[in-house]
């Protein structure tokens, strides 16, 4: 152990995002498996939003907006594959695509309308 107590307090020891990432995954899985459209969309939104939030919080991104679009892209591909390939699960695919569209919309809206100045203290 390092002899300096307090060294490990240089970073945040609390984050609200992991809990919601972890909740988003099972909610989305349940929604997709049982074809419950709103549950699937809601779970994916919770997951995607929390991933973007956590990326911002931990310093990997300055704002969550691009992160939202980043999460949406693979979801859109998956959803479209569900709808238009031999997988043939159009309802579930539509839910995944819908979640991706909402995430992209939120990301674009964030980029356009949120103040991009650094906050002052």
């Amino acid at each position: 152990m390092d002899a300096e107590p307090g060294l490990s307090e240089q970073y945040r020891m609390a984050s609200p995002w992991p809990l919601f990432i972890a909740l988003g995954i099972p909610i989305a899985e349940l929604g997709i498996l049982f074809s419950l459209f709103p549950i699937a969309v809601g779970g994916l939104l919770l997951f995607g939003g929390s991933v973007a939030g956590m990326a911002t919080e931990s310093g990997y991104a300055k704002t969550p907006w691009r992160g939202l679009i980043g999460v949406a892209a693979p979801l859109a591909v998956l959803g479209l594959a569900f709808m238009f390939t031999r997988i043939g699960l159009p309802n579930r695919g539509l839910a995944i695509v819908a979640a991706a569209v909402i995430l992209v919309a939120a990301g674009v809206a964030g980029m356009l309308f949120s103040p991009d100045r650094e906050p002052t203290y």
């Binding site: 307090g6 945040r12 990432i21 099972p26 049982f34 709103p38 969309v41 939030g53 919080e57």
Partner: protein, 595 residues
């Protein structure tokens, strides 16, 4: 009606998301993100421990501190242990009598399935993660895990996993518990045939199991990254402690085993819901067994290696000497890790597979006895002529060695094809693996819980109760599971709720043993909770007098420093209102009410 249901779900989901967003906005001050991201640079250099964290329940919901997450894992594991244990108490009471008396046969099957999955995935893996999360960063001199947030995600996947696995027992309309046994053999688990296993309860259980696998994999990646990259300057591969070695090996096994389970479960879910035929077609049953056991056998070592690490860590401390043959204990850990992927088909000797394949799996299975025996002999030689102190953690570790020998030797017999063909699917197998899972793995868990009790609670447990817990567990384990081995010799098949009257005496004996175990665990819970709340406080950083024999280790050093720091700044943990953790300074009223 259909539209109304959808609408209601949409509204509920929307409300839930709005509530989450509102809560997040309250907890997180969005404008507080700064490059320093934390309170350390704001002049709180002398702060220690929990002062950077929010207070109350919010602290536990949002923590990314490895020690807090370790405690969460521990609490979770012990709750799951209680649930799984109470399930089996009901089953054992049912088995007092040869016929169907207390519960229905189908409910027995449900309990049997859930008991296995709960103990392996919701107790075994998490209780190990409790130790590794709390201790590995302290032992290797790291500030925290390599990915603290991933660590938190891995933990928070587990409560939903438990709810899904137990969902069939909840009063949900049209959902019944899975009755597939923990091996989920197809075609039963594909929902084929006239049975009731096409029920959504099985889907929910599979989803829960999948989640727990995702959680374990995330944890494993985190431990590998932490042990490789976050070691302190003075910690090299040569002096890495034995517990971290076993966690590293275990994480490697998880990395190769759990994703395969996840894929197989997804394929099974597809078979059940989307009309695929991975496991329902010709050869599907054998395919499932191969995939399942390719995961399932390494899972045994995933569960046993870290407990072996705990025992290798605890035995020397109370023998007054260093671990005998340290290097060979590490080599045997690695050897078991590698060999564990070459033995899976010994679970399938009775399936009619190619005899040449069968023989090769027998050879590797027998070979795995060698590194296991290396460990056993090293534990014994560590104690040999040592200054043995029979404290509760030491008793549990010695109990581990004793039970592991019986569990291991019965396993060597099962690895032999001709013996296996006789004993396959009998209680002998149940006795064998319970000697390892309860007699060894759970014992090592208790050993660790008692040994580090002062470290994570700052208090001491009650020694007499600890010893009562040990002796009841030791005697209970040996009565219950030795009776099962004898039942197996007699030909009693496993998994049945009813049996022929000739097996009644041994079954009753096993039930007596299980009830002894129950009494022991009730004493444990009492001791654990009461001592945590009211036990005598530890003031010395060396509660086990390890310095005297030169066996002092890094985690106690950390504990000692924590004690001293607490004394140096007045030791008043309540005085922590005005610290900066993402905006809490603005709401002193809230903090005060929680403090």
């Amino acid at each position: 009606m259909e539209v109304n249901g959808q609408l209601a779900l949409t509204v509920l989901m929307g409300l839930f998301l709005v509530a989450v967003a509102a809560w997040l906005a309250r907890v997180e001050n969005w404008r507080s993100y700064t490059p320093v991201a934390g309170g350390g640079a704001f002049g709180q250099k002398d702060s220690y421990g929990s002062e950077e964290k929010p207070s109350g329940v919010i602290r536990w919901l949002t923590t990314v501190d490895h020690k807090d997450i370790g405690i969460l894992y521990g609490a979770y594991g012990l709750i799951a242990f209680a649930v799984g244990g109470l399930m089996v108490v009901v089953m054992r009471i049912e088995l007092i009598d040869p016929g169907m008396s207390l519960i229905s046969n189908t409910f027995y099957n449900s309990l049997l399935t859930s008991h296995g999955i709960t103990m392996l995935f919701l107790f075994g893996t998490p209780i190990i993660a409790a130790f590794s999360n709390y201790l590995v960063p302290l032992l290797i001199g790291a500030d925290d895990m390599a990915f603290p947030r991933i660590n938190a995600i891995a933990f928070w996947l587990l409560p939903p996993a438990a709810l899904l696995i137990w969902a069939g027992f909840f009063p949900l309309p049209d959902v019944i518990p899975a009755q597939t046994a923990w091996t989920m053999y197809t075609p039963l688990s594909t929902g084929a045939g006239a049975g009731n296993q096409a029920n959504a309860g099985v889907d929910l259980m599979l989803l829960g199991l999948h989640l727990s696998g995702v959680s374990a994999t995330m944890g494993a990646i985190n431990f590998i990254a932490t042990i490789f990259t976050e070691r302190g300057d003075d910690v090299s591969w040569a002096n890495l402690d034995i517990f971290s070695w076993t966690i590293l090996t275990q994480s490697g096994l998880i990395l190769f085993a759990f994703p395969l389970l996840g894929s197989a479960i997804v394929m099974l879910l597809f078979d059940r819901n989307f009309g695929t035929a991975f496991f329902s077609g010709e050869g599907g049953a054998i395919l499932w067994q191969h995939l399942f056991w390719f995961f399932g056998h390494p899972e045994v070592y995933i569960l046993v290696l870290p407990p072996m690490g705990i025992v290798s860590y605890v035995i020397p401390r109370f023998s007054g000497r260093r671990l005998f043959g340290f290097k060979f204990v590490v080599y045997s850990t690695l050897a078991i890790g590698v060999l564990s992927f070459g033995v899976w088909a010994h679970h399938m000797f009775a399936t009619g597979m190619d005899p040449r394949l069968r023989a090769s799996f027998m050879a590797v299975s027998l070979a795995i006895a060698i590194p296991s025996a290396v460990k056993t002999f090293n534990w014994i030689t560590t104690m040999w002529n040592g200054r043995v102190r029979l404290t509760t953690p030491m008793l549990f570790s010695v109990g581990f060695v004793s039970n592991f020998i019986i569990g291991g030797v019965t396993g060597v017999f099962l690895a032999s094809i001709p013996v296996d063909l006789v004993l396959h699917d009998t209680y002998y197998v149940v006795g064998h693996f319970h000697y390892v899972v309860m007699g060894a793995i759970a014992f090592a868990g208790f050993s660790g819980l008692y040994y580090w009790f002062p470290l994570y609670t700052g208090r001491m447990y009650q020694k007499t109760l600890g010893k009562a817990h040990f002796w009841l567990s030791m005697i209970g384990t040996n009565i219950t599971f030795f009776a099962m081995i004898l039942l197996g010799y007699g030909g009693m098949p496993r998994r049945y709720a009813t049996f022929l009257p000739q097996f009644a005496t041994l079954h009753q004996l096993a039930t007596v043993g299980a009830l002894l175990l129950l009494v022991g665990q009730i004493i444990f819970v009492w001791n654990f909770v009461q001592s945590w709340l009211e036990g005598p406080e530890i003031e010395d950083g060396d509660p086990w007098n390890l310095r005297q024999s030169g066996l002092y280790t890094a985690e106690w050093d950390w504990f000692d420093q924590k004690q001293q720091t607490a004394i140096a700044d007045g030791g008043d943990p309540d005085d922590e209102t005005a610290l900066t953790d993402g905006g809490h300074v603005d709401e002193p009223a809230d903090d005060r009410s929680d403090a």
